[in-house]
C-alpha cells in the first residue's frame, strides 16, 4: 500500500511541476554534470578528513549515483521516490511491507521516498555500510530490533508521521494513516486494526490526524489491551480517543 502512496505523491509532484519548469528541463540535464562534479568534490573532501578511508571498498558514492534521479527530483542532489523504489527492489524488499519504511528511516529521510546526498553518506557511514549487502544487513537487523526494543520502535513510529504529512501541514490524512498502520504495527499492536476500523466507521467525521493523536495511539496500544477496558475519559488522552474507546466498547 505505501507503494501507491509514494506513487501518488510522485505523480502529484509531476503534475505540479508541469506548470513551471517546462523551460527548466533542459537546464536540469545540463546540471547533471555539475552535480556529478559536486559529488566528486564531496567525495574527495570526505576522503581527506574522514576515517572511512580505511575501508577497503566504499561503494556508497557509486550507489548514490546509481539511484539518483535528476529527472524526478528537479535536479536536486538526492535520490527521488523512483530511485528509492528501485533501491528497495534491488535490496529484495516488497514495497507493501515494512522494510522500505525502515530503510527510509535508517537513511535519515525527512520526507517520504527522498534521500538527500548528505543524509545518504552520513547514514551509510553510521550504519557501517558501503555496499548493498551491508545495507540490507543493517536494515534487516533494524527491522528485528523494532520488535524487541520498544524505544527504537517508538522513534520509528513517530518518524512515520513526518513521512505521511505533506509540506507544512500539521496533520496527516486519515487515508494515509489507514494505509500505513497495518504495515508498521508490531505483533502486540492489535489495537491499530481496531483504530483503522474506527476511522473507517467515522470517515465522515474524522478526516485528519494530528501529531499528538498519532503519538498517543502508540501509547494507548502499548498501555492497554485492545478491548480498552481500562480506558478512562478522565485520563490524559486526546478527545478523539474518547469516541474511539466508546466505539470499541460498543463493538462487543
Amino acid at each position: 500500500m505505501p507503494r501507491s502512496k509514494a506513487a501518488d505523491k510522485r505523480q502529484a509532484k509531476d503534475t505540479t511541476d508541469v506548470s513551471g519548469p517546462a523551460a527548466k528541463r533542459p537546464a536540469t540535464r545540463a546540471t547533471k554534470a555539475k552535480v556529478n562534479s559536486k559529488t566528486k568534490r564531496a567525495k574527495n573532501s570526505k576522503h581527506t578528513d574522514s576515517k572511512t578511508e580505511a575501508e577497503p571498498v566504499d561503494m556508497s558514492e557509486e550507489l548514490f549515483a546509481q539511484y539518483q534521479d535528476f529527472e524526478r527530483t528537479d535536479g536536486k542532489n538526492m535520490i527521488g521516490p523512483e530511485g528509492f523504489e528501485r533501491l528497495s527492489t534491488d535490496l529484495g524488499y516488497d514495497m507493501s511491507r515494512i522494510e522500505p519504511l525502515v530503510l527510509m528511516w535508517k537513511l535519515g529521510c525527512t520526507e517520504m521516498g527522498t534521500v538527500p546526498y548528505e543524509n545518504w553518506t552520513q547514514s551509510l557511514s553510521s550504519m557501517g555500510a558501503s555496499n548493498l549487502d551491508q545495507l540490507k544487513k543493517a536494515v534487516d537487523s533494524a527491522v528485528s530490533k523494532l520488535e524487541s526494543d520498544q524505544k527504537v520502535y517508538k522513534q520509528f513510529y513517530r518518524q512515520m508521521f513526518d513521512y505521511l504529512k505533506t509540506g507544512k501541514q500539521k496533520v496527516i490524512s486519515v487515508d494515509y494513516a489507514k494505509d500505513i498502520l497495518p504495515v508498521i504495527k508490531g505483533a502486540k499492536d492489535t489495537l491499530f486494526d481496531r483504530f483503522v476500523a474506527f476511522l473507517d466507521a467515522n470517515s465522515e467525521k474524522i478526516k485528519t490526524i494530528n501529531r499528538d493523536q498519532w503519538q498517543s495511539l502508540l501509547e494507548l496500544s502499548r498501555s492497554m489491551d485492545d478491548s480498552l477496558s481500562g480506558y478512562s475519559k478522565e485520563d490524559a488522552w486526546p478527545a478523539m480517543f474518547d469516541d474511539f474507546a466508546e466505539w470499541v466498547q460498543n463493538q462487543k
Binding site: K170, N210, R211, D212, Q213, Q215, S216, E219, K233, E234, D235, A236, W237, P238, A239, M240, D242
Partner: protein, 792 residues
C-alpha cells in the same frame, strides 16, 4: 481583752492567751476585737515565735547555733501545731451541731457557718502574720508541705467538717433543685453559696494551681451534673411516652431556656458549658434521629415556629456536623420542590414552545420556590450559613436542570435573559403589573430586576445569559423598544454588581454608541440643511461599533430604492469624512421604515390619509417596486399598477429568493399584494391589491418570523460555544504559564476552578488541550504522558 499580755518567754502562758483570742474570733468573728487586743494578739504570736526556751526551762536551742537561728525558733512549728489542733477542735464542734439540721435548713446552717468562718480565717490569718511571714514562709521555701494560716484553716474546714457532711449537703442541694425544677419556690441563693464555698475550698491537697477547682469539680459539679442529667433523662423519657416529638421539642425548648436562665445564678462560670453540654446530650443528642424524622413533615407544613425550635435545639449541640443531616434533607427538599414547581408550570399552559411565555412561567416558579425557602432560612434557621449553602446548592441544581431545561442544554440562562427582555421591553406591561399595588412603576421594575439577578446567581452558564442578554439589549436599543433608559441603566449596574465589570463592559459600550449616534444624527441633519439638501423623509440612523454589538454584518446586498440611496450615500460620505478609514456597513436587516400607501377602494379616513405600514427595509424595497414607474414591471396602464414576477423582484432588490419569499408571503397574507397562485413559486406574479381595505390605519408588517428567532437563538448559541473554547484555551494557557508543568488531572481541576462563567466539561477541556498541543503552546512531557509542559 481582760487578760494582760503575758510576758515573753513563758510560752505556755502566751499560748493560752493566744488560744483565748482565737476562740473568741472563731465563735464570734463579727465582734470588733479592738485595736489593742488585735495588737496584743499579734505581739503574743511574735513573742511566742521568738522565745528561746519553753516554760519548763528546757532550752531548745542556743544563740550560737547560727543555722537554727536563721530558721527561727522551733516555737514557730510549735505554734502552728497548736493552732491547727485548736481550729480542728472547733471544726468538730461545728460538725456536731450540723447534725441537727437537714434539707434547706442544713444549707442555711452551712452557709451561715461558712460566712462566719471566712471572716474568722481572715482575722486569724492577719494575727498570725508573723508566723506566716517567717516560719511558714521559710518552711515553704524549703519545700515542706506547710501552708499559710488562712489556707490551713480552709483545709481544716474541708477535712474536719466538709468531708463528713458533703453528701448530706449535696442531697439537700439536689432536693432544692428538684423542687425548683418542678416549679416550686425555693431559694436558689442557698445553692449558690454552697457552690461558692466549694470553689473556695480549692484543691484536694495533691495538686498545685492547676487543680485549684478540684474540690468544686469533684465534690460538687460532677455529682450535680449527674443528678441533673438523671432528672432530665427521666423527664425526657416520660415526655416522649406521653406526647409527640413536636410536644417534646416545644417542652424541651422551654426547659432548656429555663435552665440557661437559672444556671448563671448559682454555678461557677467556668462550668456553665459543661453543665449545658450534659443537658444537651440527655435532652437533644439522644433524640437526634427523632428530630431528623420530624424535619421533613415540618417543612411540609411550613411550620416556621417549630422549625425554628427544632433548629435552635439542634444548634445547641454545635452548628457543625450535627446539623448536616438536616442541611442535606433541606437541600434535597428544596430541590424537589423546585423541580416540582417547574414541572407544573411546564405542563400547565400550552406555550407551544414560545420562549417568552416559558420564560415568565419558569422565572416565576423559581422565584416562588426560592423566596419561600429563603424565608424559612431567615425565620427558622437564623440565616445559618450551612443551611444557606444547602439552599444555594439546591437552587443551582433545580434551576439549571429541570422539566423545562434538559440536562446539558443551557435553556435556563436563555429563559432568564428572555424574562429580563420582557421586563425591559416596551409593550409587555402585563408582566410588570405583577408588582405590588401602589408601588411606582420604577420601584416595581427595580424589584423585579433584582429578582432576576437573584435567579442569575444560580445560573451555571452565565456566559449564555450574557450573550442572550446582549442580543436582546441590542434589539431593544436598535429598535428603540426600551421601556426606559432608567430601567436599562439600573439593570446594567445590577449586573455589574453581581458579575463584575467584565460582564457589562461590552453592554455599556452599546449605550455609548447610542449617545454618539444621536449627536451624529443631529449634526448630519444640520449639515444637510446647511448644504441645501432636503432629506425627503424622516431619517434616523445609529452607528454601532462591530466589536460591541452582537449583530452580524449583512451577507446580502440590497439595491436601495433611489429615494433612500441618495440620503444613505450622503451619510456614508459624511461619516467617512468624519472618521477616515472606518468601514461603514449598512445593516438593512435591522432597519425599519414607515410607508404611506393610498388604495383606490379605501373608504373613510384611509381614503384621504392612506394607510401607514410599518415595514422592514427589505419590505420597503419590495413595495417601492410597485410604485416605481421606471421599474421592471409591466402593465402600468392597469389600475393595479405593475405586475412583477418573483425573479423581477429579486433582481430589482438584489435580495435572494430566501429573503424575498417570506416577505411576499406576509404581504399576500395581509392582502396588500395579490399573488397569481396561492403557493408562491418561481411562476408567481404579484400585483398590488387595489381592493385593499382595513379597519386599522396603521399596520405593522415587520413581524419577526419564528424561523428568524430560532436561527438567531442558534447563532447566539454557536457564538457562545466559540467563546467558550477561547475562554477554555486562555484559562489553560494562563494556568500552564504560571505552573510550567502540571499533571493532566491537576490541569483539568484548575481549569474547572478558574472558569466561573460556565461549567467546563472534561471533554471540552481535553479538546482545548488537544488544540493547544497542536498550536505548540504546551506539549506532553516526554516519558510521562499525563504531564504537560508549558512551551514559552
Amino acid at each position: 481583752m481582760v487578760n494582760e499580755l503575758p510576758p515573753s518567754g513563758d510560752t505556755d502562758k502566751i499560748w493560752e492567751y493566744i488560744k483565748a483570742g482565737v476562740d473568741r474570733i472563731l465563735n464570734n468573728p463579727g465582734e470588733n476585737l479592738g485595736n489593742n487586743a488585735y495588737i496584743n494578739l499579734y505581739t503574743a504570736v511574735y513573742n511566742f515565735c521568738t522565745s528561746l526556751k519553753n516554760s519548763s526551762g528546757s532550752i531548745y536551742y542556743t544563740a550560737t547555733d547560727a543555722t537554727q537561728s536563721a530558721h527561727g525558733s522551733p516555737f514557730g512549728k510549735h505554734l502552728y501545731e497548736l493552732l491547727k489542733q485548736n481550729v480542728a477542735d472547733y471544726m468538730r464542734r461545728v460538725a456536731e451541731s450540723s447534725q441537727t439540721h437537714t434539707g434547706d435548713d442544713l444549707l442555711a446552717f452551712y452557709n451561715q457557718e461558712w460566712t462566719k468562718y471566712g471572716d474568722s480565717a481572715k482575722i486569724t490569718h492577719n494575727i498570725f502574720s508573723y508566723l506566716n511571714r517567717h516560719w511558714i514562709q521559710r518552711e515553704q521555701d524549703e519545700g515542706s508541705n506547710v501552708c499559710d494560716v488562712s489556707t490551713l484553716m480552709y483545709q481544716l474546714w474541708r477535712d474536719q467538717f466538709f468531708m463528713s457532711i458533703r453528701s448530706t449537703l449535696l442531697d439537700s442541694v439536689f432536693s432544692l433543685m428538684t423542687r425548683i425544677r418542678n416549679g416550686q419556690v425555693a431559694d436558689i441563693n442557698l445553692v449558690k453559696s454552697v457552690a461558692d464555698s466549694f470553689v473556695s475550698l480549692g484543691n484536694d491537697d495533691s495538686g498545685g494551681m492547676s487543680k485549684r477547682m478540684e474540690v468544686y469539680e469533684k465534690y460538687f459539679l460532677v455529682p450535680f451534673i449527674k443528678a441533673s442529667v438523671d432528672y432530665y433523662r427521666e423527664e425526657a423519657d416520660r415526655l416522649l411516652q406521653e406526647g409527640s416529638t413536636i410536644d417534646y421539642i416545644v417542652r424541651v425548648s422551654s426547659r432548656l431556656q429555663e435552665e440557661d436562665d437559672r444556671v448563671e445564678l448559682y454555678l461557677h462560670e467556668s462550668s456553665l458549658k459543661e453543665f449545658k453540654d450534659a443537658l444537651n446530650k440527655v435532652l437533644i443528642t439522644r433524640q437526634n434521629e427523632k428530630f431528623c424524622m420530624e424535619f421533613e413533615p415540618l417543612l411540609d407544613s411550613r411550620d416556621t415556629l417549630n422549625l425554628k425550635r427544632l433548629y435552635s435545639l439542634m444548634a445547641r449541640t454545635g452548628k457543625g456536623s450535627t446539623l448536616d443531616p438536616l442541611r442535606d434533607v433541606f437541600s434535597a427538599y428544596v430541590k424537589k420542590a423546585g423541580l416540582e414547581a417547574i414541572k407544573q408550570v411546564s405542563g400547565s399552559e400550552d406555550t407551544g414552545g414560545a420562549i417568552a411565555k416559558d420564560a415568565r412561567l419558569f422565572v416565576n416558579a423559581v422565584l416562588g420556590v426560592h423566596s419561600l425557602f429563603a424565608g424559612i432560612l431567615h425565620d427558622s434557621f437564623e440565616g445559618d450559613t450551612g443551611f444557606s449553602k444547602s439552599l444555594d446548592n439546591a437552587c443551582m441544581d433545580f434551576i439549571n436542570t429541570n422539566a423545562m431545561c434538559p440536562d446539558g442544554e443551557p435553556r435556563a440562562p436563555q429563559m432568564l435573559a428572555h424574562y429580563c427582555d420582557t421586563l425591559l421591553k416596551k409593550g409587555s406591561g402585563n408582566v410588570r403589573k405583577a408588582g405590588a399595588e401602589g408601588a411606582s412603576d420604577e420601584d416595581s421594575l427595580e424589584a423585579q430586576l433584582s429578582q432576576a439577578i437573584c435567579v442569575l446567581k444560580y445560573i451555571s452558564a452565565t456566559d449564555v445569559f450574557q450573550k442572550f442578554y446582549s442580543q436582546h439589549l441590542s434589539r431593544r436599543l436598535v429598535y428603540e423598544q426600551s421601556v426606559s433608559s432608567y430601567g436599562e441603566e439600573m439593570m446594567i449596574s445590577k449586573l455589574k454588581e453581581n458579575s463584575g465589570v467584565d460582564f457589562t463592559s461590552r453592554l455599556t459600550r452599546m449605550f455609548t454608541d447610542m449617545t454618539i449616534s444621536k449627536e451624529m444624527s443631529e449634526e448630519f441633519k444640520e449639515k444637510c440643511s446647511d448644504g441645501d439638501f432636503a432629506i425627503p423623509f424622516d431619517f434616523d440612523m445609529k452607528v454601532l461599533h462591530t466589536v460591541s454589538w452582537p449583530l452580524k454584518a449583512p451577507d446580502n446586498k440590497l439595491l436601495l430604492p433611489s429615494q433612500l440611496s441618495s440620503v444613505c450615500n450622503r451619510f456614508t460620505n459624511y461619516y467617512q469624512n468624519k472618521h477616515n478609514g472606518r468601514k461603514l456597513n449598512w445593516m438593512w436587516q435591522h432597519s425599519k421604515a414607515e410607508i404611506k400607501m393610498f388604495f383606490p377602494k379605501a373608504t373613510g379616513p384611509a381614503a384621504k390619509a392612506g394607510y401607514i405600514f410599518h415595514v422592514s427595509t427589505f419590505q420597503l424595497a419590495i413595495l417601492m417596486l410597485f410604485s416605481d414607474e421606471s421599474g421592471p414591471g409591466t402593465g402600468y396602464d392597469s389600475p393595479n399598477g405593475p405586475t412583477l414576477t418573483l425573479e423581477q423582484i429579486t433582481q430589482a432588490t438584489g435580495l435572494s429568493v430566501d429573503i424575498v419569499k417570506p416577505e411576499l408571503e406576509i404581504f399576500c397574507k395581509a392582502r396588500v399584494l395579490i399573488s397569481s397562485n396561492s403557493k408562491i413559486n418561481s411562476e408567481s406574479k404579484f400585483m398590488l391589491n387595489a381592493n385593499f381595505k382595513s379597519k386599522h390605519l396603521r399596520i405593522n408588517l415587520a413581524v419577526t418570523k419564528k424561523v428568524e428567532q430560532k436561527r438567531e437563538a442558534s447563532d447566539t448559541m454557536r457564538a457562545v460555544d466559540v467563546d467558550r473554547m477561547y475562554t477554555l484555551q486562555a484559562a489553560i494557557v494562563r494556568i500552564m504559564k504560571t505552573r510550567k508543568q502540571l499533571t493532566h488531572r491537576q490541569l483539568v481541576q484548575d481549569t474547572i476552578t478558574m472558569i466561573k462563567v460556565f461549567q467546563a466539561s472534561i471533554g471540552d477541556i481535553k479538546k482545548g488541550i488537544d488544540t493547544l498541543i497542536d498550536k505548540g503552546y504546551i506539549e506532553r512531557s516526554e516519558g510521562s504522558r499525563d504531564v504537560y509542559n508549558y512551551l514559552a
